[in-house]
């Protein structure tokens, strides 16, 4: 879990990871160190105040060099809201996120359709499944050139789409996208705010966090039985896969 100055939803994402049965580890924006993690979450917020362009400063944070390298090596990376903006600014994902078409911040419960249930972060959904997450952003309109949009659609890289009336002016109602390998996902709505029906609209966001545990367990079954990664803390007790999700 990377904390930039101005990150706000890092605590919520940490709670979601815990509910999924793993333990989150804090990564500091100024460190050149992923501390042996198996997956990374870039949380929502206003990194560095987002005065220039959302995510534009954060991409230059020392920790992002490590995140980019790890993502290119196949590590699961989820960017939520501001994290999605950082992933686009870092060119891990194509396109950009610009100011909502109505020029206001929007916070609402948002219905989505999961379009791709084969990424590291969406295994536990079924393609076509409808879920309700929290949407809250000022600069959430996904834009890209036509060729990129067609490629995303053609290769099945759209992870989720908005349902109902258009919340922010995203092209083709795109709420989230992924890479060809499916390990990097950028998502504008907040799954970490839909993991507990007491403080959010249901638990429709939890599968994002359980999915990645499954995919890590599946991709490296040996690691769960063997020794923990050299730099990482000891494995989390009580988690079925025996594998620690370090975020």
């Amino acid at each position: 879990m990377v904390t930039f100055p101005g990150s706000l939803d890092d605590g919520d994402a940490r709670r979601a990871v815990g509910l999924a049965g793993a333990e989150a580890v804090a990564l500091w924006h100024g460190d050149h160190d992923l501390r042996g993690v198996d997956a990374v979450i870039l949380p929502g917020g206003f990194s560095y105040g987002d005065y220039l362009r959302s995510g534009a400063i954060a991409r230059f944070a020392p920790v992002m060099a490590e995140v980019v390298a790890a993502a290119r090596g196949g590590m699961p990376v989820l960017g939520i809201c501001n994290g999605f903006q950082v992933l686009c600014e870092s060119h891990l994902l194509p396109g950009a996120l610009i100011r909502n078409h109505h020029r206001k911040f929007v916070c609402r419960d948002q219905r989505l359709k999961i379009e791709n249930a084969s990424t590291s972060w969406t295994h536990d959904y079924v393609t076509g499944e409808e879920v309700t997450l929290v949407l809250k952003n000022g600069e959430g309109a996904y834009v890209a050139d036509l060729a990129t949009l067609d490629r995303l659609e053609g290769e099945g890289l759209v992870v989720a789409r908005y349902l109902g009336d258009d919340p922010n002016g995203s092209m083709r109602a795109i709420a989230g996208i992924t890479t060809e390998r499916g390990n990097v996902v950028g998502l504008m709505p907040h799954p970490e705010h839909a993991v507990d029906s007491l403080c959010g609209p249901g638990t429709g966001g939890l599968p994002f966090f359980t999915s990645v545990l499954q995919s890590l367990a599946a991709s490296a079954p040996a690691a769960s039985a063997g020794t923990p990664p050299p730099q990482g803390p000891p494995p989390l007790q009580g988690h079925s896969s025996g594998r620690e999700l370090v975020l």
Binding site: G11, D12, G45, F46, G49, K136, E192, L198, C199
Partner: protein
Amino acid sequence: MTETQTRQLDTVAHAQEHPDVAQPWAELGLKSDEEAHLREILGRRPTSSELAMYSVMWSEHCSYKSSKVHLRRFGEQVTDAMRKHLMVGIGENAGVVDIGQGYAVTFKVESHNHPSYIEPYQGAATGVGGIVRDILSMGARPVAVMDALRFGPLEAPDTQRVLPGVVAGVGGYGNCLGLPNIGGETVFDPSYAGNPLVNALCVGVMRHEDIHLANASGTGNQIILYGATTGGDGIGGVSILASEAFDTQGSARRPSVQVGDPFMEKLLIECTLEVFAEHLVAGIQDLGGAGLSCATSELASAGDGGMHVWLDRVPLRDESLAPEEILMSESQERMMAVVEPAHVSRFLEICAKWDVDATVIGEVTDTGRLVIEWYGDTVVDVPPRTVASEGPVYERPFARPIWQDSLQAGDASTLPRPTTGEGLRATVLQLVASPNLCDKSWITNQYDRYVQGNTVLAQPEDAGILRVDEQSGLGIAVSTDCNGRFAKLDPFTGAQLALAESYRNVATAGARPLAVTDCLNFGSPEDPDVMWQFAEATRGLSQGCEALGIPVTGGNVSFYNQTGAEPILPTPVVGVLGVIDDVTRRTPIGFTTEGQQIYLLGTTRDELSGSEWAHVAHGHLGGLPPVVDLEMEAQLADLLINASRDGLIDAAHDLADGGLAQALVESCLRYDVGARVWLPDELDPFVALFSESTARVIVAVPRSEEVRFTDMCAARRFPHVRMGVTDGRGDDAVLEVQECFSVSLAELRAAWSATLPTAFDD
């Protein structure tokens, strides 16, 4: 230091040598007797820096000189029962209340009315920033904000300018800080045209042992200014001094509304909580109104009584600022800490980690004087208490306005009322679409209500509820309310009605009310009519708090809210804080399940004067407001809290503006569950639907709990009547008032939700 600054410097020595220099004290807002008193205190004329400090600290805003004699009531009427949960009372940056399990909560509401009129976005944003720093300086982590807003008529061009900016400012600042906005109110009335009200509330949570106070004790302790640099923003009247010193070199043209930087404030919060956690802080104060003048004099007054400040060490974002301006600057996102010398280096280290500038600018002394130096010259040498706490106090004349009797005589009984089912139906639709009763989600959807993941209830619920402890489920509830029309009809009763409604809202959500904060918005205190309204409102509020056994822990007075001769409606906004032992037992307003019994609790009278119906249907204001019965309110609250704890009710909604009809509509629309209701035989249907009698709620009771629930009401002899059943779901569902009318939820929703988007979306 520039040449200009050297040439023009008015030092203490210079003031002694040149006693007859003409000074712009009148332009700075001081009265001639105040200026004379100031000379008496100092035994000489003030330097221009001292004049700047005194003028702003003796202003109405900082000194409470017109309100002090009335506000004393709040402190005097604190009983032992109230003291039970009170950890810090009135007089500090904010009051602190014990909510159990070792947790303490601090909360306060403050106005930022005039800046928000001049520059809506920044005015509202810095209003949020200021109250958040107040809460932070008590040692608490800020956990939520709320906003109570008042605007002129919805269709007025100025409302079109002010409202979107204010809402974007409240949202822009709070969202960027990661503080959920859990409620508030938005009210429109012609009296606020040209004088909108922006009252911002913040709540903070801490452990008992973490409470910090604003005082500078311990001779030799260091004074650290940290946070943003100091610029020319927020300098108001003092630019007159500046223009003397600077010809026309730009100072006078600087804006007097502060500009906010929420990212800096976010860093300031995290940095401050970290220095608290390492016990590095002996005393702390945020810099708000009156900037360094206020922080230095208040810290010194509350401590050992002396402080020496090297003003030239203050980091500036504009090097041309003169000492007077630096003392007055209201640049945002700044704090002042008193730190023992041994802790200074660690304090600075933590600031550096968060990229927060921190500078030692002074130290605590035992001289009893506040001495401020500017490059070796003394520009201020004063007894700090005379600046901070011993300012002028006025017994402003007040008298019951001559128009009050005729206002109260012209009641709503003569207004034509709808008598047919069709007429009642049309009135329901007219009221739900009216600006004060319509759907406010156009506003509240611009605020992040989810961040931090502890928001259990937020708008449009009766009260916001936050989870404080994830393990135990301990939580808090907050509501703010005020009906200014009631307060105009009778300020004493109006203030108690605001208290009663806020108290009821907290209890309706399932929480036990513990404490009160208030923001008293009034016209000019120099108008005896206004002063009477103020005196009556404070008297009503303090007596009401005594009756309910909950103390006022802090708040704010805002005077001079008037454009020309016509003051705003007296608007004593009352915030009530409550505690709930288990947030999973909270009671939401919405009907969720079909087939539940709807009960009306309380007594309905023919009380339509000052009502939303009289306002919307007839543009009428006259008569007497509804009767307040605080004993009934307390009984009702206790009943609701117990019913919630025992799981007897699934929904509850308080009856206030718009009466029963509005409450039913809101409870139905929340989750699209319809209702079939019948009105009590003994009541005229119009009165039953639209009266605004107090101490009433509707509740939805599962059939399985009905006997236990009615037994509970009967045992407490609380008036209760079964008046309906939840029925139907989705947009096909209807709200049916038997033998009167039926209206589909789709039609209600269309009317209710179109008003604000139509007014503001282009």
